[in-house]
């Protein structure tokens, strides 16, 4: 049973490596084609596309060599510990929401909600403790950057929120 599951994870690991090789080869080929359109050579010497074209070709070639090496068992890739997919999605989606909401709601409100989500909701830290840390991480950091370091952080573009300093 255990052997079967190990074999399955090894097969899926090999597949994901093959997919990675394909993606890298495609990036290389895309760079090559896009660079040729930019012009490889001009009267002044190499054109805007010369360097990226060489790199694109090299990248595609390396992806192919890696594919061959992998098939031949030379320097085989070792996938690290399996990812906690729920954790990855929770972090990535919360960051995307944060980035999307930042210009509208401002740093303080969005980061407060972001930290409350990660501390209170996901990590199960007490609500009061989470609120205090989130307040420090949002309002505290906002004033540290804007007032002490003179580095501005986004404020809300919505007038009512903006007027109350958010």
């Amino acid at each position: 049973m255990e052997g079967e599951s190990t074999e399955r994870s090894s097969v899926s690991g090999r597949r994901s490596i093959a997919a990675g090789q394909a993606v890298i080869a495609m990036v290389g080929l895309y760079s090559l084609v896009a660079s040729i359109e930019l012009g490889l050579w001009s009267a002044m010497g190499p054109g805007a596309g010369f360097f990226p074209a060489v790199l694109g070709a090299v990248l595609a070639l390396l992806a192919f060599v890696w594919f061959v090496q992998e098939r031949a068992g030379i320097h085989r890739s070792e996938s690290g510990d399996p990812l906690d997919h729920a954790h990855v999605w929770a972090v990535v989606i919360s960051l995307l929401v944060l980035a999307a909401a930042l210009p509208f709601l401002g740093f303080q409100l969005v980061v407060f909600a972001f930290l409350m989500y990660h501390l209170g909701l996901r990590a199960g830290i007490g609500w009061i403790k989470s609120a205090v840390i989130s307040l420090g991480g949002s309002v505290g950091v906002f004033y540290l950057f804007t007032s002490v370091l003179h580095v501005s952080l986004p404020v809300s573009s919505l007038l009512p929120l903006n007027m109350i300093g958010l």
Partner: protein, 501 residues
């Protein structure tokens, strides 16, 4: 003006209260980054660059340098107390350091590590003072073809030493170069890979990319242990080493300094390689080598001295030739460029006072770290008691701040998120990240020097064969790249997993 006079002037500048404060804050932040799990020096320095944006160039670089060598001190604390290195260069210290903790001698291990780091760092800085002028003037003889060849050698060394596979390291390097090509072409002014997005005309923010690839991907891949961390700070009395400890550590300090300094000069060598080689030297030459692995003080003194000598020694190629020797130094170089400074021989000619101020601040920073680290060990260990979700939440928040403030654009936050996922993918594919950072920073300089060279020769590649230094360097780079085909194997000691890579 002689070197001594210039250094004295540098000290005068570095000892203004503002610059002392920047060095102090940098040391504190660096130590915290070194102690924190889930964030290494590369991402740590990158995400703190925005803190320095509104500072004057001297203050900014002093603070970032202090953060840089502060991380090497901080990493030791978790190695010794928890058997968990806070950063790669301190991994080997855990072997004897943790054994010493089990024997109730954690305080002695930390004090010796701090002194070793101070000695290694200070002597390497003396090396920087001595090398700065001659190497700087030698660097002035270097034209675009030589610079291009030098960058190629630096990148090929890092590629050769990073990870287990040369092909995957080359892929990482090529990806970094391609990312650095995004934006307006420096010579023809044509937009490249901008996908008709105005925001990409200035290129991709290197801070956002590095924070994403190194920092966010680390948080996304990090799986903390289930057991709560139990750590006890040693009392003040237990911090004092005995006369015997000092006597046994002295030769290790000397060996560690030599190894760390020499390795720091070679591009591609990371601090962990220095500490590993230093441990090897202790195993070979120490009078008490039989005790190594069982709590021998030499196992702490040697590697810790070596990794700090390395950190300071690695600044020599950066200051004199403009070549970053490791990914962390590449990020530091990015900070220089962000401030409108180009590290290299022209730094001493164009910003001599600034260069000497930074060098003087390295001495001050080493003293500050010695004074801070030993008495404040209780404070550092208390950071380790903070539950990981709180640390991760706050680190993520600082990543957002770091990515946003570099251009004051939310677009860069999205860039960071995308590159975080790219970083997870690269880690999953076992592709080392170090070459990518180096090429990301060096890419534009490399392309510029290549195109300037070809401009000089009216488009003829013969220019690289006509100039002896360029020819030698390019042949060297080629040999390094094809070394696996020639069966020139990487030393086993260098084939270890290096999280900095």
């Amino acid at each position: 003006m002689g070197v001594v006079n210039e250094l004295i002037l540098g000290f005068a500048e570095a000892m203004t209260w503002q610059n002392l404060l920047f060095a102090f804050v940098g040391c504190l932040l660096g130590t915290v980054i070194g102690v924190l799990p889930g964030i290494g020096p590369v991402a740590g320095i990158a995400l703190l660059i925005p803190l320095t944006l509104n500072l004057d160039p001297a203050g900014s670089i002093i603070m970032l340098c202090a953060i840089f060598y502060g991380t090497t001190y901080g990493g030791t604390i978790t190695s010794v107390l928890l058997n968990t290195p806070g950063e790669a260069a301190s991994a080997i210290t855990a072997i004897d350091g943790y054994q010493m903790t089990k024997m109730g001698r954690a305080g002695v291990a930390l004090t010796i590590a701090a002194f070793g780091s101070f000695i290694g760092g200070s002597i390497a800085t003396v090396g920087l003072v001595l090398a700065a002028k001659p190497l700087g003037s030698l660097g002035l003889l270097i034209g675009p073809p030589e610079f291009f060849a030098l960058v190629v050698v630096g990148i090929s060394l890092l590629v050769a030493l990073a990870g287990r596979s040369m092909v995957r390291a080359l892929i990482s390097g090529a990806l970094g170069l391609l990312i650095s090509m995004v934006g307006i072409d420096p010579v023809m002014g044509a937009p490249r890979f901008t996908f008709s997005m105005e925001r990409l005309l200035d290129g991709v923010s290197f801070v956002a990319v590095i924070v994403g690839v190194f920092g966010l991907s680390e948080i996304l891949s990090y799986r903390p242990g289930k057991k709560p961390v139990s750590v006890h700070a040693p009392g003040f009395r237990s911090l004092l080493p005995t006369r015997q400890d000092w006597k046994r550590s002295t030769p290790s300090f000397a060996r560690g300094t030599g190894i760390g300094f020499a390795m720091g000069l070679i591009p591609g060598m990371t601090g962990s390689v220095s500490s590993l080689l230093s441990y090897g030297a202790e195993k070979k030459f120490s009078k008490h080598r039989a005790e190594l692995g069982h709590g021998a003080i030499e196992g702490v003194a040697g590697p810790e001295t070596a990794n700090n000598a390395h950190a300071n020694g690695a600044l020599i190629p950066l200051f004199t030739l403009g070549i970053p020797a490791s990914p962390t130094i590449a990020v530091l170089m990015g900070a220089f460029l962000q401030q409108g400074l180009t590290p290299g021989p022209t730094l001493f000619a164009e910003h001599g006072t600034l260069a000497w101020t930074i060098i003087a601040s390295l001495f001050i920073g080493n003293v500050l770290l010695l004074v801070l680290n030993v008495p404040l060990v209780g404070l550092w260990t208390s950071i380790l008691r903070v539950p990981y979700p709180i640390l991760a939440g706050l680190i993520l928040m600082f990543m957002v701040v770091g990515a946003y403030t570099i251009n004051f654009s939310v677009f860069d936050v999205f860039v960071m998120i995308i590159f975080g996922l790219v970083g997870v993918g690269l880690r999953h594919l076992d592709i080392p990240l170090a070459p990518m950072v180096l090429t990301l920073v060096l890419g534009p300089l490399m392309e510029r020097s290549l195109r300037e060279s070809l401009d000089i020769s009216h488009g003829s590649f013969i220019i690289f064969a006509e100039r002896p230094i360029t020819m030698v360097l390019l042949v060297l780079a080629l040999l390094i790249i094809v070394s696996p085909l020639l069966k020139l194997r990487k030393p086993a000691a260098l084939a270890v997993d290096d999280p900095e890579s």
